[in-house]
Amino acid sequence: MQKFFSNRKLVIFIICLIISFGLMTVSVAVRNKRSTPPVVQQFGNDIVGFADNVVATPMNGIHHGFVSIKNLLNTYEENQQLKSQVNQLTQTKVKDQILTKENKQLKRQAKVGNTLTSYSKINAAVITRTPSSWNSQIIINKGQAAGIKKNMPVIAGKGLIGTVSEVNKTNSKVVLVSNTSQNSNRFAVQIINGAGKVVNGIITSYDGTNNQITMGNVTSKAKLKKGDKVTTSGLGGVMPKGIYVGTVAKITEDDYGLAKKVYITPAANLNDIEVVSVAVRNSGVN
Protein backbone atom coordinates (compact mmCIF):
# COMPACT_ATOMS: atom_id res chain seq x y z
CA MET A 1 0.00 0.00 0.00
CA GLN A 2 3.00 2.26 0.56
CA LYS A 3 3.77 2.01 -3.14
CA PHE A 4 0.27 2.97 -4.14
CA PHE A 5 0.60 6.47 -2.76
CA SER A 6 4.01 7.19 -4.21
CA ASN A 7 4.17 10.43 -6.16
CA ARG A 8 4.02 9.19 -9.73
CA LYS A 9 1.23 6.71 -9.05
CA LEU A 10 -0.82 9.39 -7.33
CA VAL A 11 -0.52 11.73 -10.32
CA ILE A 12 -1.56 8.96 -12.72
CA PHE A 13 -4.47 8.09 -10.45
CA ILE A 14 -5.75 11.67 -10.34
CA ILE A 15 -5.40 12.10 -14.10
CA CYS A 16 -7.40 8.89 -14.62
CA LEU A 17 -10.08 10.17 -12.26
CA ILE A 18 -10.36 13.46 -14.15
CA ILE A 19 -10.55 11.71 -17.54
CA SER A 20 -13.18 9.36 -16.14
CA PHE A 21 -15.38 12.18 -14.92
CA GLY A 22 -14.90 14.02 -18.21
CA LEU A 23 -15.99 11.00 -20.23
CA MET A 24 -19.00 10.39 -18.01
CA THR A 25 -20.15 14.00 -18.23
CA VAL A 26 -19.75 14.04 -22.00
CA SER A 27 -21.65 10.79 -22.51
CA VAL A 28 -24.52 11.88 -20.26
CA ALA A 29 -24.72 15.21 -22.10
CA VAL A 30 -24.69 13.47 -25.47
CA ARG A 31 -27.41 11.08 -24.34
CA ASN A 32 -29.63 13.90 -23.13
CA LYS A 33 -29.19 16.30 -26.03
CA ARG A 34 -28.43 14.47 -29.23
CA SER A 35 -30.55 11.89 -30.99
CA THR A 36 -27.64 9.62 -31.89
CA PRO A 37 -24.25 8.92 -30.27
CA PRO A 38 -21.03 10.02 -32.05
CA VAL A 39 -20.19 8.15 -35.24
CA VAL A 40 -17.17 6.40 -33.70
CA GLN A 41 -19.28 5.01 -30.88
CA GLN A 42 -21.99 3.91 -33.32
CA PHE A 43 -19.43 2.16 -35.46
CA GLY A 44 -17.92 0.37 -32.46
CA ASN A 45 -21.32 -0.69 -31.19
CA ASP A 46 -22.29 -2.05 -34.60
CA ILE A 47 -19.16 -4.20 -34.78
CA VAL A 48 -19.52 -5.48 -31.21
CA GLY A 49 -23.21 -6.15 -31.81
CA PHE A 50 -22.37 -8.14 -34.90
CA ALA A 51 -19.80 -10.21 -33.01
CA ASP A 52 -22.25 -10.73 -30.17
CA ASN A 53 -24.48 -12.78 -32.47
CA VAL A 54 -21.91 -15.58 -32.33
CA VAL A 55 -22.59 -16.04 -28.61
CA ALA A 56 -26.12 -14.69 -28.32
CA THR A 57 -27.75 -16.73 -31.08
CA PRO A 58 -26.96 -20.19 -29.62
CA MET A 59 -27.77 -19.02 -26.06
CA ASN A 60 -31.12 -17.58 -27.12
CA GLY A 61 -31.81 -20.72 -29.15
CA ILE A 62 -31.30 -22.95 -26.11
CA HIS A 63 -33.44 -20.66 -24.00
CA HIS A 64 -36.17 -20.73 -26.63
CA GLY A 65 -36.12 -24.54 -26.54
CA PHE A 66 -36.59 -24.63 -22.77
CA VAL A 67 -39.41 -22.09 -22.92
CA SER A 68 -41.15 -24.18 -25.61
CA ILE A 69 -41.01 -27.29 -23.44
CA LYS A 70 -42.36 -25.38 -20.43
CA ASN A 71 -45.20 -24.02 -22.54
CA LEU A 72 -46.01 -27.49 -23.81
CA LEU A 73 -46.40 -28.76 -20.25
CA ASN A 74 -48.81 -25.98 -19.37
CA THR A 75 -50.84 -26.26 -22.55
CA TYR A 76 -53.77 -28.28 -21.23
CA GLU A 77 -54.59 -26.04 -18.27
CA GLU A 78 -54.12 -22.91 -20.32
CA ASN A 79 -56.38 -24.23 -23.04
CA GLN A 80 -59.20 -24.73 -20.53
CA GLN A 81 -58.93 -21.18 -19.29
CA LEU A 82 -58.56 -19.61 -22.70
CA LYS A 83 -61.58 -21.41 -24.19
CA SER A 84 -63.84 -19.45 -21.89
CA GLN A 85 -62.32 -16.17 -22.97
CA VAL A 86 -62.33 -16.81 -26.71
CA ASN A 87 -66.07 -16.36 -27.23
CA GLN A 88 -65.95 -12.95 -25.64
CA LEU A 89 -62.92 -12.00 -27.68
CA THR A 90 -64.56 -12.81 -31.02
CA GLN A 91 -67.39 -10.45 -30.21
CA THR A 92 -65.00 -7.66 -29.27
CA LYS A 93 -62.93 -8.27 -32.36
CA VAL A 94 -65.90 -8.05 -34.74
CA LYS A 95 -67.04 -4.88 -33.04
CA ASP A 96 -63.50 -3.50 -33.25
CA GLN A 97 -63.38 -4.23 -36.98
CA ILE A 98 -66.64 -2.42 -37.62
CA LEU A 99 -65.59 0.54 -35.49
CA THR A 100 -62.22 0.80 -37.24
CA LYS A 101 -63.94 0.80 -40.61
CA GLU A 102 -66.42 3.40 -39.50
CA ASN A 103 -63.63 5.48 -38.03
CA LYS A 104 -61.73 5.36 -41.31
CA GLN A 105 -64.78 6.45 -43.29
CA LEU A 106 -65.51 9.28 -40.89
CA LYS A 107 -61.89 10.42 -41.00
CA ARG A 108 -62.02 10.47 -44.78
CA GLN A 109 -65.26 12.43 -44.75
CA ALA A 110 -63.90 14.94 -42.25
CA LYS A 111 -60.63 15.10 -44.20
CA VAL A 112 -58.57 14.13 -41.17
CA GLY A 113 -55.36 12.28 -42.05
CA ASN A 114 -53.48 10.11 -39.61
CA THR A 115 -54.27 10.83 -35.96
CA LEU A 116 -52.27 10.09 -32.84
CA THR A 117 -53.56 6.54 -32.63
CA SER A 118 -52.25 5.32 -35.98
CA TYR A 119 -48.87 3.63 -35.81
CA SER A 120 -46.99 0.86 -37.52
CA LYS A 121 -44.64 -1.67 -35.95
CA ILE A 122 -41.02 -2.64 -36.53
CA ASN A 123 -40.31 -6.09 -35.15
CA ALA A 124 -36.91 -6.79 -33.62
CA ALA A 125 -35.20 -9.58 -31.70
CA VAL A 126 -33.47 -9.03 -28.38
CA ILE A 127 -29.72 -9.70 -28.61
CA THR A 128 -28.58 -9.21 -25.03
CA ARG A 129 -29.21 -7.45 -21.75
CA THR A 130 -26.95 -5.06 -19.88
CA PRO A 131 -25.32 -6.96 -17.01
CA SER A 132 -26.05 -4.29 -14.43
CA SER A 133 -28.44 -4.00 -11.54
CA TRP A 134 -29.63 -0.45 -12.11
CA ASN A 135 -29.24 -0.01 -15.87
CA SER A 136 -32.28 -2.02 -16.94
CA GLN A 137 -31.47 -2.02 -20.62
CA ILE A 138 -31.80 -4.49 -23.44
CA ILE A 139 -30.14 -4.36 -26.84
CA ILE A 140 -32.23 -5.12 -29.93
CA ASN A 141 -31.08 -5.98 -33.45
CA LYS A 142 -32.64 -3.13 -35.42
CA GLY A 143 -31.31 0.42 -35.70
CA GLN A 144 -31.32 3.53 -37.85
CA ALA A 145 -31.22 1.41 -40.98
CA ALA A 146 -34.68 0.03 -40.12
CA GLY A 147 -36.07 3.47 -39.27
CA ILE A 148 -35.79 3.46 -35.49
CA LYS A 149 -35.38 6.81 -33.75
CA LYS A 150 -34.65 7.82 -30.20
CA ASN A 151 -37.53 7.83 -27.66
CA MET A 152 -39.79 5.55 -29.70
CA PRO A 153 -41.90 3.25 -27.50
CA VAL A 154 -41.13 -0.47 -27.39
CA ILE A 155 -43.86 -3.08 -26.90
CA ALA A 156 -43.52 -6.72 -25.86
CA GLY A 157 -46.17 -9.16 -24.76
CA LYS A 158 -49.09 -7.34 -23.20
CA GLY A 159 -47.88 -3.77 -23.26
CA LEU A 160 -45.22 -1.11 -23.16
CA ILE A 161 -41.82 -2.19 -21.82
CA GLY A 162 -39.72 0.91 -22.40
CA THR A 163 -38.33 3.46 -24.80
CA VAL A 164 -35.41 3.54 -27.22
CA SER A 165 -32.50 5.35 -25.59
CA GLU A 166 -29.63 5.01 -28.04
CA VAL A 167 -29.71 4.26 -31.76
CA ASN A 168 -26.82 2.85 -33.76
CA LYS A 169 -26.86 1.79 -37.40
CA THR A 170 -27.82 -1.84 -36.85
CA ASN A 171 -28.71 -2.12 -33.16
CA SER A 172 -30.20 0.03 -30.46
CA LYS A 173 -30.56 0.15 -26.69
CA VAL A 174 -33.94 0.07 -24.99
CA VAL A 175 -34.37 1.44 -21.46
CA LEU A 176 -36.99 -0.61 -19.61
CA VAL A 177 -39.60 1.16 -17.48
CA SER A 178 -37.95 -0.39 -14.41
CA ASN A 179 -34.95 1.90 -14.79
CA THR A 180 -34.38 4.20 -11.83
CA SER A 181 -32.51 6.79 -13.86
CA GLN A 182 -33.72 10.35 -13.40
CA ASN A 183 -33.75 11.36 -17.02
CA SER A 184 -35.12 8.39 -18.89
CA ASN A 185 -38.66 7.16 -19.29
CA ARG A 186 -40.60 10.37 -19.02
CA PHE A 187 -43.64 9.75 -21.15
CA ALA A 188 -47.20 11.00 -21.16
CA VAL A 189 -49.98 8.62 -20.09
CA GLN A 190 -53.70 8.84 -19.54
CA ILE A 191 -56.22 6.95 -17.43
CA ILE A 192 -59.86 6.62 -18.37
CA ASN A 193 -61.96 5.97 -15.27
CA GLY A 194 -65.30 4.20 -14.99
CA ALA A 195 -67.28 7.37 -15.61
CA GLY A 196 -65.40 8.07 -18.84
CA LYS A 197 -63.36 10.96 -17.44
CA VAL A 198 -59.81 11.21 -18.76
CA VAL A 199 -56.91 11.91 -16.42
CA ASN A 200 -53.69 13.00 -18.14
CA GLY A 201 -50.25 12.85 -16.58
CA ILE A 202 -46.61 12.00 -16.91
CA ILE A 203 -44.68 9.03 -15.58
CA THR A 204 -42.33 10.57 -13.03
CA SER A 205 -40.43 7.75 -11.40
CA TYR A 206 -40.05 4.06 -10.74
CA ASP A 207 -40.81 2.73 -7.28
CA GLY A 208 -38.19 0.08 -6.62
CA THR A 209 -39.75 -1.33 -3.47
CA ASN A 210 -42.99 -2.52 -5.11
CA ASN A 211 -42.00 -2.87 -8.78
CA GLN A 212 -44.43 -0.13 -9.79
CA ILE A 213 -44.12 2.99 -11.91
CA THR A 214 -45.56 6.20 -10.53
CA MET A 215 -47.43 9.02 -12.16
CA GLY A 216 -46.98 12.14 -10.05
CA ASN A 217 -48.56 15.59 -9.84
CA VAL A 218 -52.08 14.50 -10.73
CA THR A 219 -54.36 17.42 -9.82
CA SER A 220 -57.50 16.17 -11.53
CA LYS A 221 -60.50 15.64 -9.24
CA ALA A 222 -61.75 12.64 -11.24
CA LYS A 223 -62.24 9.51 -9.13
CA LEU A 224 -59.76 6.77 -9.96
CA LYS A 225 -59.90 3.28 -8.59
CA LYS A 226 -57.66 0.24 -8.44
CA GLY A 227 -57.65 -1.67 -11.72
CA ASP A 228 -58.29 1.27 -14.05
CA LYS A 229 -56.33 0.85 -17.26
CA VAL A 230 -53.45 3.16 -18.15
CA THR A 231 -52.45 3.88 -21.76
CA THR A 232 -50.05 6.26 -23.47
CA SER A 233 -51.67 9.58 -24.38
CA GLY A 234 -49.56 10.47 -27.42
CA LEU A 235 -49.02 14.01 -26.20
CA GLY A 236 -45.49 15.23 -26.87
CA GLY A 237 -42.60 13.36 -28.44
CA VAL A 238 -42.87 10.50 -30.89
CA MET A 239 -45.22 8.26 -28.91
CA PRO A 240 -48.49 7.15 -30.44
CA LYS A 241 -51.71 7.16 -28.44
CA GLY A 242 -53.33 4.09 -26.98
CA ILE A 243 -50.47 1.73 -26.11
CA TYR A 244 -51.36 -0.27 -23.01
CA VAL A 245 -49.04 0.50 -20.07
CA GLY A 246 -50.61 -1.18 -17.03
CA THR A 247 -53.24 -0.94 -14.35
CA VAL A 248 -53.65 1.39 -11.40
CA ALA A 249 -52.39 -0.27 -8.21
CA LYS A 250 -52.99 2.43 -5.64
CA ILE A 251 -53.56 6.16 -5.30
CA THR A 252 -51.96 8.28 -2.60
CA GLU A 253 -51.50 11.94 -1.75
CA ASP A 254 -48.08 13.30 -2.62
CA ASP A 255 -45.62 14.59 -0.01
CA TYR A 256 -47.22 18.04 0.22
CA GLY A 257 -50.85 16.91 0.12
CA LEU A 258 -51.60 19.05 -2.92
CA ALA A 259 -51.68 16.52 -5.70
CA LYS A 260 -52.24 12.82 -6.11
CA LYS A 261 -49.67 10.18 -6.90
CA VAL A 262 -50.82 7.15 -8.85
CA TYR A 263 -48.94 3.84 -8.66
CA ILE A 264 -49.15 1.70 -11.79
CA THR A 265 -48.34 -2.00 -12.15
CA PRO A 266 -46.70 -2.53 -15.57
CA ALA A 267 -48.60 -4.98 -17.77
CA ALA A 268 -45.65 -6.59 -19.51
CA ASN A 269 -43.29 -9.01 -17.81
CA LEU A 270 -39.97 -7.18 -17.97
CA ASN A 271 -37.88 -10.27 -17.26
CA ASP A 272 -39.04 -12.50 -20.07
CA ILE A 273 -38.49 -10.69 -23.33
CA GLU A 274 -37.44 -12.44 -26.53
CA VAL A 275 -39.02 -10.41 -29.30
CA VAL A 276 -40.15 -6.78 -29.20
CA SER A 277 -41.85 -4.37 -31.59
CA VAL A 278 -41.02 -0.71 -31.88
CA ALA A 279 -44.06 1.49 -32.52
CA VAL A 280 -43.56 4.15 -35.17
CA ARG A 281 -46.18 6.88 -35.30
CA ASN A 282 -47.44 7.40 -38.84
CA SER A 283 -46.66 10.82 -40.20
CA GLY A 284 -49.41 13.24 -41.06
CA VAL A 285 -49.56 14.88 -37.66
CA ASN A 286 -46.43 16.72 -36.49
Partner: protein, 174 residues
Protein backbone atom coordinates in the same frame (compact mmCIF):
# COMPACT_ATOMS: atom_id res chain seq x y z
CA UNK B 1 -1.14 -30.60 -31.79
CA UNK B 2 -3.24 -28.60 -29.34
CA UNK B 3 -0.06 -27.57 -27.51
CA UNK B 4 0.82 -25.28 -30.43
CA UNK B 5 -1.86 -22.72 -29.62
CA UNK B 6 -0.17 -19.88 -27.70
CA UNK B 7 -1.61 -18.95 -24.32
CA UNK B 8 -2.34 -15.38 -25.51
CA UNK B 9 -4.87 -16.71 -28.01
CA UNK B 10 -6.64 -18.64 -25.25
CA UNK B 11 -6.72 -15.46 -23.17
CA UNK B 12 -8.27 -13.33 -25.93
CA UNK B 13 -10.84 -15.89 -27.04
CA UNK B 14 -11.84 -16.48 -23.42
CA UNK B 15 -12.03 -12.76 -22.71
CA UNK B 16 -14.36 -12.07 -25.64
CA UNK B 17 -16.45 -15.15 -24.87
CA UNK B 18 -16.85 -14.19 -21.20
CA UNK B 19 -17.71 -10.60 -22.18
CA UNK B 20 -20.60 -11.71 -24.37
CA UNK B 21 -21.67 -14.41 -21.91
CA UNK B 22 -22.20 -11.69 -19.25
CA UNK B 23 -24.94 -10.17 -21.40
CA UNK B 24 -26.41 -13.43 -22.66
CA UNK B 25 -26.62 -14.95 -19.19
CA UNK B 26 -28.28 -11.75 -17.96
CA UNK B 27 -30.89 -12.02 -20.70
CA UNK B 28 -31.57 -15.75 -20.60
CA UNK B 29 -31.77 -16.02 -16.81
CA UNK B 30 -33.29 -12.56 -16.26
CA UNK B 31 -36.27 -14.14 -14.50
CA UNK B 32 -33.97 -15.69 -11.90
CA UNK B 33 -31.17 -13.11 -11.72
CA UNK B 34 -33.28 -9.96 -11.66
CA UNK B 35 -36.14 -11.46 -9.64
CA UNK B 36 -37.62 -8.51 -7.89
CA UNK B 37 -36.28 -6.80 -5.69
CA UNK B 38 -32.88 -8.51 -5.78
CA UNK B 39 -30.38 -8.19 -8.58
CA UNK B 40 -27.57 -10.64 -9.22
CA UNK B 41 -25.13 -9.43 -11.83
CA UNK B 42 -22.70 -11.91 -13.39
CA UNK B 43 -19.14 -10.56 -13.74
CA UNK B 44 -17.56 -13.34 -15.76
CA UNK B 45 -15.26 -10.83 -17.46
CA UNK B 46 -13.68 -9.87 -14.11
CA UNK B 47 -13.39 -13.55 -13.19
CA UNK B 48 -11.53 -14.32 -16.41
CA UNK B 49 -9.23 -11.31 -16.04
CA UNK B 50 -8.31 -12.22 -12.47
CA UNK B 51 -7.72 -15.93 -13.09
CA UNK B 52 -5.63 -15.07 -16.17
CA UNK B 53 -3.58 -12.72 -14.01
CA UNK B 54 -2.90 -15.57 -11.57
CA UNK B 55 -2.28 -18.40 -14.02
CA UNK B 56 -0.47 -16.75 -16.93
CA UNK B 57 3.13 -16.38 -15.76
CA UNK B 58 4.26 -14.42 -18.77
CA UNK B 59 5.00 -10.74 -18.26
CA UNK B 60 4.79 -9.90 -21.98
CA UNK B 61 0.99 -10.02 -21.82
CA UNK B 62 -0.23 -6.68 -20.42
CA UNK B 63 -3.44 -7.80 -18.72
CA UNK B 64 -4.01 -4.35 -17.19
CA UNK B 65 -4.07 -2.81 -20.65
CA UNK B 66 -6.47 -5.42 -22.01
CA UNK B 67 -8.66 -4.92 -18.93
CA UNK B 68 -8.95 -1.25 -19.92
CA UNK B 69 -9.79 -2.18 -23.53
CA UNK B 70 -12.52 -4.65 -22.55
CA UNK B 71 -13.78 -2.12 -19.98
CA UNK B 72 -14.15 0.49 -22.70
CA UNK B 73 -16.10 -1.93 -24.90
CA UNK B 74 -18.22 -2.84 -21.87
CA UNK B 75 -19.07 0.84 -21.30
CA UNK B 76 -19.81 1.49 -24.94
CA UNK B 77 -21.84 -1.59 -25.78
CA UNK B 78 -23.67 -2.43 -22.56
CA UNK B 79 -24.22 0.70 -20.49
CA UNK B 80 -23.68 3.57 -22.92
CA UNK B 81 -22.00 5.54 -20.13
CA UNK B 82 -18.33 5.92 -21.00
CA UNK B 83 -15.56 6.19 -18.42
CA UNK B 84 -16.73 3.79 -15.72
CA UNK B 85 -15.51 0.25 -16.32
CA UNK B 86 -12.63 1.42 -18.50
CA UNK B 87 -10.96 2.50 -15.23
CA UNK B 88 -12.48 0.05 -12.77
CA UNK B 89 -11.30 -3.12 -14.53
CA UNK B 90 -7.57 -2.14 -14.64
CA UNK B 91 -7.82 -0.75 -11.09
CA UNK B 92 -9.04 -4.02 -9.57
CA UNK B 93 -6.48 -5.99 -11.59
CA UNK B 94 -3.74 -3.67 -10.28
CA UNK B 95 -4.93 -4.00 -6.67
CA UNK B 96 -5.22 -7.78 -7.06
CA UNK B 97 -1.63 -7.91 -8.25
CA UNK B 98 -0.48 -5.88 -5.22
CA UNK B 99 -2.24 -8.29 -2.87
CA UNK B 100 -0.83 -11.37 -4.59
CA UNK B 101 2.69 -10.05 -4.05
CA UNK B 102 2.28 -11.02 -0.38
CA UNK B 103 -0.19 -13.91 -0.62
CA UNK B 104 0.37 -17.36 -2.11
CA UNK B 105 -1.89 -17.79 -5.17
CA UNK B 106 -4.09 -20.71 -4.15
CA UNK B 107 -7.85 -21.30 -4.21
CA UNK B 108 -8.67 -19.75 -0.82
CA UNK B 109 -6.61 -16.61 -1.17
CA UNK B 110 -7.99 -16.11 -4.69
CA UNK B 111 -11.48 -16.56 -3.31
CA UNK B 112 -10.91 -13.75 -0.79
CA UNK B 113 -9.31 -11.46 -3.37
CA UNK B 114 -12.20 -12.08 -5.76
CA UNK B 115 -14.60 -11.14 -2.95
CA UNK B 116 -12.80 -7.79 -2.56
CA UNK B 117 -12.69 -7.26 -6.34
CA UNK B 118 -16.42 -7.76 -6.87
CA UNK B 119 -17.21 -5.47 -3.93
CA UNK B 120 -15.00 -2.79 -5.47
CA UNK B 121 -16.37 -3.20 -9.00
CA UNK B 122 -19.97 -3.05 -7.79
CA UNK B 123 -19.34 -0.25 -5.27
CA UNK B 124 -17.34 2.08 -7.49
CA UNK B 125 -19.62 1.64 -10.51
CA UNK B 126 -22.63 2.40 -8.30
CA UNK B 127 -20.87 5.47 -6.91
CA UNK B 128 -20.03 6.68 -10.43
CA UNK B 129 -23.66 6.30 -11.51
CA UNK B 130 -24.89 8.12 -8.41
CA UNK B 131 -22.49 11.00 -9.08
CA UNK B 132 -23.80 11.59 -12.61
CA UNK B 133 -27.39 11.20 -11.40
CA UNK B 134 -28.28 8.03 -13.27
CA UNK B 135 -29.08 6.03 -10.14
CA UNK B 136 -31.19 6.87 -7.18
CA UNK B 137 -30.61 4.23 -4.53
CA UNK B 138 -30.12 4.19 -0.79
CA UNK B 139 -27.08 2.63 0.87
CA UNK B 140 -29.06 -0.13 2.63
CA UNK B 141 -30.90 -1.08 -0.56
CA UNK B 142 -27.60 -1.30 -2.37
CA UNK B 143 -25.99 -3.49 0.30
CA UNK B 144 -28.92 -5.84 0.84
CA UNK B 145 -30.56 -6.09 -2.58
CA UNK B 146 -27.66 -5.68 -4.96
CA UNK B 147 -24.25 -6.26 -3.40
CA UNK B 148 -25.06 -9.34 -1.31
CA UNK B 149 -26.82 -11.36 -4.07
CA UNK B 150 -24.19 -10.32 -6.63
CA UNK B 151 -21.39 -11.49 -4.34
CA UNK B 152 -23.17 -14.78 -3.72
CA UNK B 153 -23.65 -15.47 -7.43
CA UNK B 154 -20.12 -14.50 -8.40
CA UNK B 155 -18.47 -16.50 -5.64
CA UNK B 156 -20.45 -19.58 -6.69
CA UNK B 157 -19.37 -19.03 -10.30
CA UNK B 158 -15.80 -18.61 -9.03
CA UNK B 159 -15.90 -21.90 -7.13
CA UNK B 160 -17.26 -23.69 -10.20
CA UNK B 161 -14.88 -22.19 -12.75
CA UNK B 162 -11.60 -21.94 -10.78
CA UNK B 163 -10.32 -25.48 -11.31
CA UNK B 164 -11.39 -25.89 -14.98
CA UNK B 165 -9.67 -22.61 -15.88
CA UNK B 166 -6.55 -23.62 -13.92
CA UNK B 167 -6.49 -26.93 -15.81
CA UNK B 168 -6.93 -25.08 -19.12
CA UNK B 169 -4.03 -22.72 -18.51
CA UNK B 170 -1.82 -25.52 -17.19
CA UNK B 171 -2.34 -27.40 -20.42
CA UNK B 172 -1.37 -24.43 -22.59
CA UNK B 173 1.29 -22.76 -20.43
CA UNK B 174 3.89 -25.43 -21.05
Amino acid sequence: MTKRIPVEVIFFVGLILMFFLDGSVSLVFSNELYAFPNAMVPYLTVLWLMLSMIFIDRSSLRIGLWAAVIGFIFDMYYTGLLGVFVFIFPLVIYLGRLIFETLPPNFFSSFLVYFIMITLVEGISCLANVVVGLVNISMTDFLVNILAPTLALNLVLFAILYFPIERLYQAFNR
